[in-house]
């Protein structure tokens, strides 16, 4: 049972810490920092289901976050739905979309799949930029009144923060639960050798479609909350290719395949990025440094930080995974 895994409680402790720290002294700037870390963890954890567990690179993972933001914001503003309901519906709609995309592109193996995911991202972005109800390339703005239902703008920001932290905890719990299930074992088998897995009775097509649409759900929900909090959305911020790619860097840095790896990599990378972006000398070079980091990890430590840690302390794997 998942409740018996020590790491389950560690996840809850991390989430509690995320909530406690900014609340203590009403520290708004810390909250804004942590919200970026939380979004990074959500994206990296769900991407881990694809890259780390199944061995399928998704270059366009951000598409789920952006689409979720669009569907959720549309439901919350134009249709006047309650925020949480809008987010959940957005999650379901985007998962269904992912399932449909998956039917088309999951027949492709390995690198071909990876290329097709870039295509999906470009195609969806180009569609949304031309879609009238969503304001084409200018995007959508949230009316200020919609914060009233959450008790005013200031209060609404805190509410969305808690919701995003909740999604972050759920993302990590999802990674843990999948890892310790028969379904997860099937995914690992696909990663190691898809043909052998099929021969041994893993229904690879179904497994891949499910994991692809599951990895879409929580990012879509988080997208709704995040863009609701920002009050606006447009195609270039919703489908930011760079963010999609940085998710991969985070995952590789922390250690693909490890639950803690995704979270650790996301946290560290987000800190590093905000440091580099604010430093006057280095802000132009943050991509160079991120790229160099990724190159070093891929060439010399493919297991990332957690891989290195587990080699040092093999018994830690029992506790953390």
């Amino acid at each position: 049972m998942i409740l018996r895994r020590p790491f389950f409680w560690i996840i809850l402790a991390i989430a509690a810490l995320f909530i406690y720290l900014p609340l203590h002294g009403n520290n708004v700037s810390l909250r804004e920092d942590l919200i970026l870390v939380a979004i990074a963890i959500i994206l990296a954890s769900n991407l881990n289901l694809m890259i780390g567990y199944t061995g399928y690179v998704n270059f366009g993972h951000i598409v789920f976050y952006g689409l979720g933001g669009y569907v959720g914001l549309y439901l919350a503003t134009v249709r006047g739905l309650n925020l949480v309901a809008a987010a959940l519906i957005a999650g379901v709609v985007v998962s269904l979309c992912a399932f449909l995309f998956g039917l088309a592109i999951l027949r492709l193996r390995g690198a071909y799949f990876a290329l097709a995911t870039i295509g999906i991202l470009q195609a969806v972005q180009s569609f949304v930029s031309n879609f009238d109800p969503w304001g084409r390339s200018t995007g959508m703005y949230l009316s200020f009144e919609s914060y009233q239902s959450l008790g005013g703008a200031m209060h609404a920001l805190w509410v969305t923060y808690y919701l995003i932290i909740g999604v972050m905890a759920l993302s990590m719990i999802l990674s843990l639960a999948v890892k310790n299930s028969k379904f997860g074992l099937g995914l690992f088998a696909i990663r190691e050798d898809e043909d052998a897995a099929v021969v041994l009775g893993v229904n690879a097509t179904v497994y891949k479609s499910i994991v692809y649409s599951v990895s879409a759900f929580l990012p879509a929900v988080a997208g709704t909350f995040m863009f609701y909090k920002n009050g606006m959305i447009d195609p270039s911020i919703a489908f930011e290719y760079m963010l999609s790619l940085e998710g991969i860097v985070m995952l590789m840095l922390g250690g693909q395949g490890a639950v803690m790896g995704a979270a650790l990599g996301a946290g560290l990378y987000e800190k590093l990025r905000s440091y580099l972006l604010t430093s006057p000398k280095l802000s132009d070079f943050h991509l160079v440094i991120a790229g160099g980091l990724l190159l070093l990890v891929v060439l010399f430590a493919p297991g990332g930080l957690m891989g290195w840690f587990y080699r040092l302390l093999p018994r830690a794997r029992e506790v953390v995974e």
């Binding site: 592109i105 290329l115 470009q122 972005q125 290719y241 991969i248 790229g291 190159l295 891929v298 493919p302």
Partner: protein, 287 residues
């Protein structure tokens, strides 16, 4: 009606350059089973190399293709040893990520130097006027240059010893090693040629349209579409597929907004990937 025809002819001319860009991607992919994600960045570097050389030495821009090619070969050798050599033969995920990392570094440095504002190479060739329409000389010259380079590549791959060795390594690396071919040297050469082709096509594009350091991404994605359509390692297949893509763009642009083009191209890309995993000109898969 003749407007559509003119737009189609222009599409064909630009398509030849798409084909040239795709040859570089397809050569590397075919020979070492590495999808080179530095491709777009290298195309962009080719554009800026042309821009710098042309500002230094304004003359016939097409002669400057030769130094650009030389820089491409050197850069290719560097990138190969930096990021590709250790991951050849490992899972594709690794080479995707390592070349992607180099891509990020190049784009980062490029953005720091040139920012993301547009540049252009101010060079024009006398156009050709047919009835009411004028075809830009630059487009015709670029298409001719692409055709010439494709011919040269075809000759190199099929008529020279090194070219034959490249094809042998692509077919079966172990067997080639047993025949006394040093596969490391061959992989380095093939990678260098692939990068040189990417940079040359970028240099040609820079004489056609304004560009930024990020422009490479558009052409990288077009190169993927062309490579998938053409199959791997076939210079003329890539040229024909590139022309087809250009033709398609030429046919649709008079009728729909330009912002829809990525959607159409990537629809085509996914359909082509699913329907022809070996390329239209490739051999059919056994399974």
């Amino acid at each position: 009606m003749s407007g559509v025809l003119a737009s189609m002819i222009d599409g064909v001319l630009v398509g030849a350059v798409y084909g040239l860009a795709a040859m570089g991607l397809s050569l590397i992919w075919g020979v070492m089973d590495v999808i080179n994600l530095t491709h777009g960045a290298m195309i962009a570097l080719g554009m800026f190399a042309m821009y710098l050389l042309y500002t230094l030495h304004a003359g016939t821009a097409y002669l400057l293709l030769l130094p650009v090619m030389g820089v491409g070969l050197l850069l290719g050798i560097m990138v190969y040893w930096m990021s590709v050599h250790r991951v050849v033969g490992r899972p594709m995920l690794m080479s995707l990520l390592s070349t992607f990392a180099v891509n990020m570094m190049v784009i980062g440095i490029g953005t720091a130097i040139w920012s993301t504002s547009p540049y252009n190479v101010n060079y024009s060739v006398q156009g050709l006027t047919l009835g009411a329409y004028t075809f830009t000389g630059n487009h015709i010259a670029a298409a001719l240059a692409a055709l010439l380079i494709a011919l040269a590549l075809q000759w190199f791959l099929y008529r020279t010893r090194t070219g034959k060795a490249i094809r042998a390594v692509a077919d079966n690396r172990e067997a080639a090693e047993l025949m006394g071919i040093s596969s490391t040297a061959i992989l380095t050469i093939a990678f260098a040629i692939g990068i040189a082709l990417a940079m040359t096509s970028g240099a040609l594009v820079s004489t056609l349209f304004p560009f930024t350091i990020l422009s490479g991404a558009t052409y990288q994605l077009k190169s993927f579409v062309v490579t998938i359509l053409a199959g791997l390692g076939k210079p003329f297949g890539a040229l024909i597929a590139g022309v087809l893509l250009g033709l398609l763009e030429g046919v649709v642009t008079p009728f729909i907004a330009v912002s829809w083009i990525p959607l159409i191209e990537f629809g085509l890309f996914v359909v082509a990937l699913v329907a022809f995993p070996q390329g239209i000109f490739g051999k059919r898969a056994a399974a």
